[in-house]
Symmetry: C2
Subunit: 364 residues, 2 copies
């Protein structure tokens, strides 16, 4: 098989044994798409690549952690898993639980998750419970219930999730023949992913499989930026629903990733995210969900502020930057339609269409 | 790069030269997902694999043809491309045209394409023109305009589309080490894909890269089954919008694929498609768009009717069947939500959730 899933690809780096029954949807091995037009639009010194995590089976990076979390839950004898979610985690948990033949319960903030994600949890047969509250409240409830009942928690505080997600860093390094990028830009919500990537980069480096470490640059939405502000945000807001989180579970490890790598965690406004979301769709043909575009919005902000002017590239004359695009744009079709202009509607007549295109029927 | 796109992977089988500028979104190399639970649910003799084409960059198999079509349009000097679409073609054309930096015009039947697909064409900056008419009328208009104006037609009657799409067959054969499957089940709409796969299977076989040929089993929706009925359908209908086509452009070559391979083209009802759509989501954790599920609905129908009872497998004791899942379920979130039961909504209180789960709070 060209791609038999990330546990098959990186088995020696993951906590599975020869007898473990692997639950996989052939996730991982996502494309690293060169983005020359985007890079040129932002800063002349940049060489930008997009890690298109939306091409995981359920359309987000969550599948990397979920193949591990569900595999281990099954190995430990659980017949029920549970998570709180802004949408992507529940979609992934529902799909992998269905494949494993076990039950999945998801708690989501009512009215605050994107349409595509809700449809996924439902179609895979998860029990979906919407609460009149936010993600942070949902996670608190899930933690309590999983402590007291025979239910496996599959949020990213589950350490197996981080193990699976670290393989994203392995893939980037393998794609570049062990040459570490200069920077990695990524959205920060519950902060599990920046934690996982940093773990992956460090592990490969410790094994001599890479020549260095990137600086980790995380970006929160301005209305949901607890790590930047230094305190939890009680009522987080942003149209980028996947990072609408006021009290990240992996706060401390995200700060470690930032500090150990010489990186930063900054914030970008919803307008900046929206501009980046359109820019990458129109210059590179890549459709990501709004939260994913925070990575590009952050890169754009740094470029504008002159951050890269004085940076010396690790190799050659260009600064190599990876932007992690965490989820597919199809997760949130409503936002794409809202960001575009209305389509034209006409009768099925050639003249009407020629007129719209600015062609003269007389030329026919 | 682990996956640099299908032209890079299969360059020697495709009409490109060393100087061709390749427009790619790193499409192709999609997972072939084993479906043991689904197979067991249908017929004891089946070994089923799902070719998950929804994991192409824009979420459907159309990207395979579009990387070729846009690459060649650019090589031939076009600055504008155009297509008629039930949604997936327009999404793909819009994305690849954006990446190439050229203009894209799409004609779609008003009110008859899925939400996700509409959002894609719009976000990539295509000029979207909705017509008060169906797909077949849209295609007729596009053909006329592209004949008379400097606009490249990128529907599947463009031969480069078929060239790109044939690589799906190469991947399946490569994943199985050159052993051809017994059967391939796939949806049939405009009939370009069954044409392309059959071309790919024959080419690999002629080159000695496979040990045989599969039987090609195409399935149309009962309300849009012109090939099965033997005449065009003037007002095609089905909830599987991607195959809502009454007069397929590749009709003749689809019949050739059927006849040369000893296969069949049959039809399945919307209810059968809907059941298959839910079945694969719940047994295998794979979310496909409704049209894709026609392949599984067809396989289920054949299984029920005893078709496989007397079939001798090409190798071993199991009949190996590939089902092509042409598009991701996220393309059409509304149908997924319609197919599921309403989620529960509760206050963020532990007792209420425990009650829904059937756990007794007294146990805490």
């Amino acid at each position: 098989m060209h791609n038999a899933g990330l546990i098959a690809r990186y088995r020696e780096h993951l906590p599975v044994s020869d007898t473990t029954r692997i639950i996989t949807l052939n996730e991982g091995s996502t494309p690293l798409v060169a983005a020359p037009a985007l890079g040129a639009a932002l800063h002349p010194k940049l060489e930008v690549y997009l890690k298109y995590e939306g091409l995981n089976p359920t359309g987000s990076f969550k599948d990397r952690g979920m193949t591990m979390a569900i595999t281990k839950a099954l190995e430990e004898g659980y017949e029920m898993v549970m998570c709180a979610s802004t949408g992507n985690t529940s979609a992934s948990a529902a799909a992998y639980a269905a494949r494993a033949g076990i039950k999945c319960i998801v708690l989501i903030p009512q009215g605050k998750i994107a349409l595509g994600k809700l449809s996924q949890a439902m179609v895979h047969g998860a029990q979906v419970i919407q609460i009149h509250g936010n993600f942070d409240e949902a996670l608190t409830l899930v933690r309590k219930i999983c402590e007291n009942f025979p239910v496996a928690l599959v949020n990213s505080i589950n350490p197996f999730r981080i193990e699976g997600q670290k393989t994203g860093a392995f893939e980037i390094l393998d794609d570049f023949g062990g040459v570490a990028p200069d920077f990695q830009c990524m959205p920060v919500g519950n902060a599990g992913n920046i934690t996982a990537y940093w773990k992956g980069y460090r592990e490969y480096h410790a094994l001599g499989k890479s020549d260095g470490l990137p600086r980790m640059m995380g970006f929160q939405a301005a209305g949901s930026a607890p790590i930047v502000l230094g305190h939890p945000v009680l009522e987080p807001h942003t149209f980028a629903t996947a990072i609408r989180i006021g009290n990240p579970a992996s706060w401390k490890t995200a700060e470690e990733a930032r500090d150990q790598s010489g990186g930063m965690i900054d914030m970008v406004t919803d307008d900046e995210i929206r501009d980046a979301y359109k820019l990458v769709a129109r210059t590179e043909g890549i459709f990501c969900e709004p939260a994913s575009a925070a990575s590009i919005a952050g890169l754009a902000k740094l470029s504008r502020e002159g951050f890269f002017d004085t940076v010396t590239p690790r190799q050659g004359d260009r600064i190599r930057v990876i932007c992690i695009l965490t989820g597919h744009g199809l997760k949130d079709p409503d936002n794409a339609i809202a960001a575009a202009s209305e389509p034209y509607t006409v009768e099925p007549k050639e003249e009407q269409i020629l007129e719209l295109l600015g062609f003269s029927p007389a030329l026919v």
